[in-house]
Amino acid sequence: MMRCQRCDKPATFHITELTGGKPVELHLCEDHAREYLMQAGNEPASAGSMAAVLAQQMAKQLALSQTAEELAELDQQLCPYCGISFYDFRSQGRLGCPYDYVVFEKELQPLLLNIHGETQHKGKRPTHSAELSRKHTELIRYRRQLQEAIQEENYELASRLRDKIREIEESSSE
């Protein structure tokens, strides 16, 4: 069994520290993991905004509930629209596109609860539907596929994608 790097207890928490130059693996017992996270939380916000720091901290706490293998698997999961991985989000504290909220829903849920104490929006909404918004977000994927099709000289696919893109663009609220 792996031991805590700071005492003799079993290491039950596996943390990948991403805030420095390169990722650092930490294996800690529960007490030392807590202590570590507390310290991380007390550091002044040097680079970037407090919001990013908060998001990173939350993401770290989230990582605590996973085993190293689960985490590695999770990290590799890619958004099919913008191509960001959960690892990218954990390290930058910023999402890549609106669809990330769908792809990483399960991972983001505890984070949102932690920050806001709620997961259901209340308040203003646009006059256009959420459905229209979702459809427009698909454009991110189609545009990426279009670029790939052009690079691969697959002009038939490119033409089909162009039609799809046009169709969605014309369905806008204007």
Binding site: A45, G48, S49, M50, A51, A52, L54, A55, Y81, C82, G83, I84, Q92, G93, R94, L95, G96, C97, P98, Y101, L108, L111, L112, I115, H116, G117, E118, T119, Q120, H121, K122, G123, K124, R125, P126, T127, H128, A130, L132, S133, R134, H136, T137, L139, I140, I168, E169, S172, S173, E174
Partner: protein, 379 residues
């Protein structure tokens, strides 16, 4: 002003002139008017919005960002007349002018220091500002002097409605407006009230108040927002939570706590006046004296001393200068403003000398004992 950029074209020169004018004017948020304006400097609200059909900034290509900028610019200019607003392409702006806009709180440091296509549409009266390609595709900001949440909310809300007529925002039934950072998701609103709390700082009660605010999920920041120090005893109180509460509930949450803080500050001032008048008067007079006579002075020291003088004016201990004039000094002694007004780029040593000269010139005017030109330029 010297520019290291390629030869400017006419529109850039126009912009330079516009910004020059701006640097001499008094921004809305520093008017020193409005409810509770002896303590509440200004009220600001911003909304974060994104177009549904593009990646957030970190994943957006140069082409994406250009298209985002074009789409939003067109939408905005359907409702804004060029006589009302200034369009600022940040890529064409040199460092000094970008800094000038940050000092006036018309754009964020993030936008000023960013890369690639990004811009801002600024109200000439400085009541609102729209930032394109900041952390989110669009940041709608409005501000007013004093405590004025309703008026400011109406302004951002109206801009949000207008722009939405022409674009499709990233919006989800469950999570509301989708933002690049999960800390802004939902309403995308940040309500912030800037307070001047010199007596609470002086009597060392400020930390206690901040701790209790944090328990209420309210954030406290310095004058220039996230990560900045509380220069000149200015503090911004703002909401942390953006999801699960309506805009009105969030505004109420911030608004509800402000009277209590105002009350604490007033009580602290009363106490100082009652029990420590001589020391207080001495401190304020000395601050005024240094500002009127210093030969070289840093931005931090200036802010610190102006803060004392500001309180002195409200307490009737200083009568030579009014609040609006003093507010101008807060802004015009900032590094970019100072250089803009001097008409030349200055290094730090020269800035400190120029700042002292500027202060002497402006604070000794009515006094008559020194010339308006500020007598000793030899330093």
């Amino acid at each position: 002003m010297k520019s290291k950029n390629p030869p400017p074209n006419e529109s850039v020169l126009d912009l330079a002139r516009e910004l020059e004018q701006l640097s001499r004017s008094r921004g809305e948020w520093l008017k020193g008017s409005g409810p509770e304006s002896d303590i509440v400097i200004s009220t600001r609200i911003r909304l974060a919005r994104n177009l549904a059909s593009y990646p957030f900034r970190s994943r957006a290509t140069e082409v994406d960002r250009q298209r985002i900028q074009q789409t939003l610019k067109e939408a905005i200019f359907r409702h804004a007349h060029p006589t009302q607003v200034i369009y600022v392409d940040l890529e064409q702006l040199d460092l000094l002018d970008r800094q000038l806009l940050v000092e006036r709180q018309l754009i964020s440091r993030e936008l000023a220091e960013g890369q690639g296509p990004r811009s801002a549409v600024l109200d000439r009266a400085e009541r609102f500002s729209l930032m394109i390609n900041e952390e989110d595709h669009l940041r709608i900001m409005a501000m007013a002097s004093g405590l004025n949440l309703d008026e400011v909310w109406q302004m951002v809300n109206q801009w949000d409605d207008r722009i939405e007529e022409h674009v499709v925002y990233a919006f989800d039934e469950k999570l509301g407006y989708l933002t690049a950072c999960p800390t802004n998701v939902g309403t995308g609103i940040r309500v912030s009230v800037m307070l001047h709390l010199p007596a609470l700082a002086l009597t060392r009660q400020i930390e206690k108040i901040f701790r209790s605010l944090q328990k209420l999920d309210l954030a406290v920041r310095g004058l220039y927002g996230e990560g900045s120090q509380a220069m000149g005893d200015f503090y911004q109180i703002s909401n942390q939570v953006t999801l699960g509460l309506s805009e009105q509930e969030i505004m109420k949450k911030v608004a509800d706590i402000i009277p209590a803080i105002i009350d604490y500050e007033r009580k602290a001032r009363d106490l100082l006046m009652r029990e420590n008048l001589r020391n207080l008067h001495d401190r304020i007079s000395r601050a005024f004296g240094i500002l009127r006579t210093a030969q070289t002075i840093s931005s931090e020291e200036t802010m610190h001393l102006l803060s004392s003088v500001r309180m002195g004016i409200h307490l009737g201990l200083i009568k030579e200068i009014g609040i609006p004039e003093l507010n101008d000094l807060f802004l015009q002694t900032q590094p970019a403003h100072l250089q803009k007004l001097a008409g030349t780029e200055l290094d730090q040593t020269d800035r400190d000398i120029e700042r002292a000269r500027f202060l002497r010139r402006h604070l000794n005017k009515e006094d008559g004992s020194q010339t308006a030109k500020g007598g000793s330029t030899s330093g």
